[in-house]
């Protein structure tokens, strides 16, 4: 809430905190972020701590700092050689659930002939890649568990090129901190280099033996079985190797950035 700081300047006759809370009531949930509405837990916490720490900017900034700390802890816990469990073909969840922040019919339509993957940032070769060029890269298949931040999980079968193989071919500086992805409809996310170089992190072109359908991210998604589902971007149009923290669509709204499994 960028307006928060301005509102905190005392305005005669206006209680800034109440004003913020009233305004927050009218915002949709994602915009309201993790501000709290009343309720038993809130009351009990305020009672126990003797202060109203669970609402407003103070709680928000403290929780966000702990979330950044948790990013570092997870980076430290991450073992680059540890593989996500794999499953037999018979265990693939069919039909595989569609999940996004838009309804299925609104999934972006990317034209296969116009598609050109942009590669930027700290790389030697900044050319764009057509779909035919990408399809010509060596491919592998993995059957792994997709775990959603909401809690549910499903097993899928993804085929594509290991991202680390692609990074090698484009001469990416693997000492850089992040890889940032931009998607067709404006979605974005970013991951740590260690995860990008993990053997199961994949530029995916097929799902369950067929060219990646539109609903699962045509023409390319990035499959990362060591991270939660929202860190697996669909309809990827651009990737950049960077030292700059660029967050992402959900990360900027309060979801933990590392979100490693």
């Amino acid at each position: 809430m960028s307006g928060t700081r301005k509102l905190r300047k005392p305005i005669p006759g206006v209680d800034a905190q109440l004003l913020i809370r009233d305004a927050a009531k009218h915002l949709p949930d994602p915009t309201r972020r993790f501000f709290l509405r009343g309720g038993a837990s809130l009351g009990a916490l305020a009672f126990l701590t003797g202060c109203d720490i669970v609402d407003g900017p103070t709680a928000e900034s403290v929780l966000q700092k702990i979330s950044y700390f948790n990013d570092r802890v997870q980076g430290w816990l991450f073992n680059p050689n540890r593989l996500a469990p794999t499953y037999p073909d018979s265990m693939v969840t069919r039909p595989f659930p569609f999940n996004a922040y838009y309804p299925e019919e609104d999934a972006p339509e990317v034209d296969k002939d116009d598609y050109a993957l942009e590669v930027g940032g700290l790389v030697e070769e900044k050319k764009t890649w057509t779909l035919d060029e990408l399809y010509a890269l060596p491919q592998e298949t993995q059957i792994t568990r997709h775990i959603c931040v909401e809690g549910w999980s499903a097993i899928g079968k993804w085929t594509g090129t290991p991202l680390r193989e692609f990074l090698r071919r484009i001469g990416a500086d693997t000492r850089a901190k992040y890889i940032w992805f931009r998607c067709a409809e404006g979605y974005s996310t970013s991951i740590d280099m260690a995860t990008a170089l993990h053997p199961q992190t994949q530029m995916t072109f097929s799902f369950d033996g067929e060219i990646l359908p539109r609903k699962y991210g045509f023409p390319m998604k990035v499959r990362i079985p060591t991270k939660l589902g929202f860190k697996n971007p669909k309809h990827v149009m651009e990737m950049a190797i960077t030292d700059k923290y660029l967050g992402g669509y959900w990360e900027d709204q309060g979801y933990n950035w590392f979100s490693g499994s």
Binding site: F34, L63, L77, C148, G254, N256, G260
Partner: protein, 217 residues
């Protein structure tokens, strides 16, 4: 009567602080009181945010009303959950560590005799169970306190296996895989909430027990 007699025998044979209590000494040392209330706060935050997280993908055909959850929406609840977990785990390790090291667990919670549990449960349900000496736990209390400590261990381990099913895949497998670990985590929560309800009701029925947990005597 017979029950109280048996109880006081157990008290004298297993509980040294009971003697101190008769001299007006401390029932709960400061570290027990401190970790108890920090734990109460951490559990309130973990359960409230956990309910909000559950609501994003319910395991059963019900969800928790937003008025009793913490975090406002999924991202907020996750931030609370993964912040409060540090408080819960650090405080819990301190409590269990000191409980083992000082011998308090051994003195207060053991032995638990099945016959005594049945007898004390009967007495409790008919309102004849004495709470005269707070420094001595009856057999039902011992069983419940030990049970909730075990539930705490299960809820933390199942929670960690939901959080890190790849990095700690052996632990997750121990719970029967990722999906099963979610159910274990839920049922451990339900057991702990059940304990808390009984525990809070008992604290108000025997107010001096609440006082002892605040000021020690």
């Amino acid at each position: 009567m017979t029950i109280e007699a048996t109880q006081s025998e157990i008290g004298t044979s297993t509980d040294r602080p009971g003697v101190a209590n008769s001299r007006g000494g401390t029932i709960h040392p400061a570290w027990v009181r401190l970790t108890h209330w920090v734990n109460a706060l951490a559990m309130l935050m973990m359960i409230g945010s956990g309910w909000q997280i559950y609501d994003a993908s319910p395991l059963f055909p019900f969800d928790f009303p937003s008025g009793i959850t913490l975090g406002g929406w999924l991202a907020g609840a996750l931030l609370w959950h993964f912040a409060a977990m540090w408080l819960l785990v650090v405080n819990g390790l301190l409590y269990v560590g000191l409980g083992l090291w000082t011998g308090r667990f051994r003195r207060k919670l053991f032995p638990i005799r099945p016959g005594q549990v049945v007898a004390d449960a009967r007495a409790a349900l008919s309102g004849r169970l004495s709470h005269e000496d707070l420094s001595v736990y009856n057999a039902v209390q011992k069983l419940l306190y030990l049970g909730v400590i075990l539930c705490a261990v299960v809820i933390v381990l199942s929670g960690i296996s939901i959080w890190k099913p790849v990095q700690l895949r052996e632990l997750t497998a121990l719970f029967g895989g990722y999906d099963a670990a979610r159910y274990v985590h839920f049922f451990a929560m339900a057991a702990i909430v059940g304990f808390i309800l009984v525990h809070v009701v008992m604290a108000f029925l025997v107010p001096k027990s609440l006082r002892a947990m605040v000021i020690g005597r």
